[in-house]
């Protein structure tokens, strides 16, 4: 059996390894949301967050571009009312609204033959169609991480683009190393999705995170 963690829990696990996330608040009421949201600064994003909520966008559990306090409070009330019994305990994640023309995807998967792997790919809605990905077995070295980045076929995607600077490859290396170290330290991690990794002023930043664990701790493909 596998178990997916909530977005907040996933980020809390990954953050100490050095994955860059946005400053966020995890709140239970609309009043707390207003306080936290004002501190972070508008515009904001609000997302319903819970252990059993994996596909937020598909269920309409994400509110984008919230501009004012009253809008924020209304959005939070509405999201909380959409929670079902199956979702378990829920909260609302408040985060700054960022936009990016370019998205990458990174993560961990578990392969039956080779065990935990690290993955980097071109992201966005066409990620599966384009399927431009590089994969290595956990653990990786910094050289492996650099080679993963260089292996992507769409190299021009990483270069300076319509007035935006080129993607900071050092940050990408850091993210891949962090994923590898996280997986090494937790053999029961069978998947991590950092999707999307938005490219904001050239810097990749993880806007969402989903960790999936094997309840029966696996020791890899030994």
């Amino acid at each position: 059996m596998t178990r997916t963690l909530s977005e907040a829990e996933s980020k809390a696990l990954l953050s100490p390894f050095g994955i860059p996330f946005l400053p966020e608040a995890n709140v239970a009421t609309s009043d707390d949301a207003l306080l936290a949201g004002t501190a972070i600064g508008f515009p904001l994003v609000a997302k319903l967050c819970g252990d059993n909520i994996a596909h937020k966008t598909e269920r309409g559990l994400v509110r984008l571009m919230i501009q004012t306090g009253p809008d924020l409070q209304a959005a939070v009330e509405d999201l909380l009312s959409k929670a079902t019994a199956d979702d378990g305990e829920v909260t609302v994640l408040i985060a700054p609204m960022v936009q990016a023309t370019r998205e990458l995807i990174a993560g961990i998967t578990f392969d039956e033959q080779f065990g935990q792997t690290v993955m980097l790919g071109i992201g966005g809605i066409f990620t599966e169609v384009i399927a431009d990905v590089a994969i290595r077995l956990v653990p990786i070295t910094e050289i492996d991480a650099e080679e993963m980045i260089a292996e992507l076929r769409t190299q021009s995607f990483l270069n300076a683009f319509r007035g935006e600077p080129e993607v900071d490859r050092r940050v990408l290396v850091k993210i891949l190393m962090a994923l590898s170290e996280f997986a090494s330290s937790s053999p029961n991690v069978i998947s991590v999705d950092l999707n999307p990794l938005m490219i904001v002023d050239g810097a990749p930043i993880a806007v969402d995170a989903l960790v999936e664990l094997d309840d029966v701790a696996t020791s890899g493909a030994q």
Partner: protein, 501 residues
């Protein structure tokens, strides 16, 4: 399956018994030319093996005019290191016992009826491995097609051909792929050191063979075919150690369905079996080839030429079209078809008529005198800003010479003299490509479809006589060179020395 075994379980002694035995006994030799037991003995006897050869036959019949022994128990002790087993699976337990008793340390099991044939067969296979383990016998197979070891002139296999001697070590999960590689070796005259089909890989598999090849002075490159890898993580860990010492080219069959367990994730849907295998090869520094020809081309290049120290490629061609197609192929690779350095262009200006291309590919534009090709090639290969060279257009003169020799006017009208001159010139260019490669420590690849169309062509023959690979097309040369370049770059990024023949 070899699950849980660690590297180095069998040492050099056991692998020497397998590949360089003092003697071989074929268990289950047959008088019927259609049986494994006949073919194996035939191939051992007819390919020049100089060690002791024995054969057993249940009925005591002569096989190939030679007397046989009743059983392996009758083999003189100390004369034989390898038993080649063609007996039915029901007999093999006893064959191994008798072999161990006679001091035999290695067994190749060609017999079928094991893991490939259902649950009973799997149980028989498991029992056979446990028996071999307890006897201290290195067991290859079962259900394998045999092995070749050219330093010992040993062709102990139930398939053809017997390849020429060389430096490529082949290990395969499919016996027929061994044959495929050996056929290409025989045709191209780029030779083999050892080749082995691991069959069901019950006790040892491809990775064990690669570990032996890594320390084998006869082997300069490993060439493998794999399908399933039961213990992927151990395979990867051991492969990483092997590639430090030996370049490895991998051809994989069965690239297919998604193997990732994490159904909830997007990354999981992208991590197909084949992409994971591909990443594993890159991480381990192994070269993954897309098909049979690409695999052999790359192994042949690694076995016979130095690795390039950088991506800077120059193409020298006597005709335009081939250069254009080669430039197209280079565009898909990490190779850099360099802009010619000013001093090189100036020195070529002194050697060529004004209509030459003045860029790369270096098209001589038919402006050759007797020494032009040689002079241009020398200037290009020796230039410090060139890391690798592809030479196109050799063999044209010799090809015309052949037509003249076969025609009605030969040897009159000066044809005898001119055809001999053509052959000498083409051989000279091919020889020079080899000499310059050695002198400057750079790969210089010769490509012409005459390698397939007319191997007797003077240029093709000279490339081969020099112990090198004549590429059948420019794009195949480019693809192989790109693989070798990526391998070289992988090594240099990790501070490892370059490899290559």
């Amino acid at each position: 399956m070899s699950s849980g075994r660690v590297a180095g379980r069998f040492g050099k002694d056991h692998f020497d018994a397998l590949f360089d035995p003092r003697g071989v006994v074929v268990a289950g030799a047959s008088t019927h030319p259609g049986k494994f037991g006949f073919v194996a003995l035939h191939n051992i006897l007819s390919c020049g093996y100089t060690g002791n050869v024995f054969a057993t036959n249940r009925d005591g019949a002569e096989v190939l005019g030679r007397p046989t022994l009743q059983s392996v128990a009758d083999v003189p002790s100390g004369d034989v290191d390898l038993v080649f087993v063609c007996t039915p699976s029901s007999s093999n337990f006893e064959v191994l016992s008798q072999a161990a008793e006679r001091g035999i340390r290695a067994a190749f099991i060609a017999s079928a009826g094991y893991g490939e044939s259902g649950t009973d067969g799997e149980a028989r296979q498991q029992a056979l491995v446990e028996h071999a383990d307890s006897l201290g016998i290195l067991l290859v197979g079962p259900n394998g097609q045999g092995l070749v070891s050219t330093p010992s002139s040993l062709c102990a296999q139930i398939v053809a051909p017997n390849p020429p001697r060389g430096n490529i070590g082949v290990a395969s999960q499919s016996g027929n792929f061994v044959s495929s590689f050996l056929n290409l070796s025989r045709h191209s005259e780029v030779g083999i050191s050892r080749a082995i089909s691991v069959g069901n890989a019950a006790q040892v598999g491809v990775i064990d063979m690669l570990e032996y090849f890594a320390d084998d002075p006869e082997t300069l490159v490993g060439l493998v075919y794999v399908e399933g890898i039961p213990d992927g993580r151990a395979f990867f860990d051991r492969l990483c150690v092997v590639t430090r010492r030996l370049p490895v080219v991998i051809l994989k069959g069965g690239a297919s369905e998604s193997g990732a367990r994490a159904a909830a994730s997007h990354t999981g849907s992208l991590a197909s079996n084949d992409r994971v295998f591909d990443g594993m090869c890159r991480q381990a520094g192994a070269i993954r080839a897309a098909n049979l020809f690409e695999a052999f081309d790359t192994a042949a290049l690694l076995a016979t030429q130095p690795q390039p120290s950088g991506p800077r490629l120059a193409v020298v061609t006597t005709v335009g079209g081939w250069g254009v197609v080669t430039a197209d192929a280079v565009a898909e690779t990490k190779l850099d078809l360099i802009t010619l350095p000013g001093d090189l262009r100036e020195s070529l200006d002194t050697l060529l008529p004004p209509r030459w291309s003045r860029n790369n590919p270096i098209d001589l534009a038919g402006g050759e005198t007797k020494d032009t090709v040689a002079d241009v090639l020398g200037a290009v290969v020796s230039h410090p800003e060139v890391d690798a060279v592809i030479l196109l257009g050799v063999g044209i003169q010799s090809n015309q010479g052949r037509l003249e020799r076969e025609g009605e006017f030969f040897p009159e009208f000066g044809l005898e003299r001119i055809t001999a001159f053509h052959d000498r010139q083409d051989a000279r260019y091919a020889d020079l490509a080899g000499e310059l490669s050695v002198r400057h420590g750079k790969p210089v690849l010769v490509a012409t479809e005459l390698a397939v169309g007319d191997p007797s062509n003077a240029a093709v023959a000279a490339v081969r006589a020099g112990g090198r690979y004549c590429f059948p097309s420019a794009d195949r040369a480019v693809r192989a060179l790109d693989h070798v370049l990526r391998s070289a770059q992988w090594r240099s990024r990790r501070g490892l020395p370059l490899q290559g023949g």
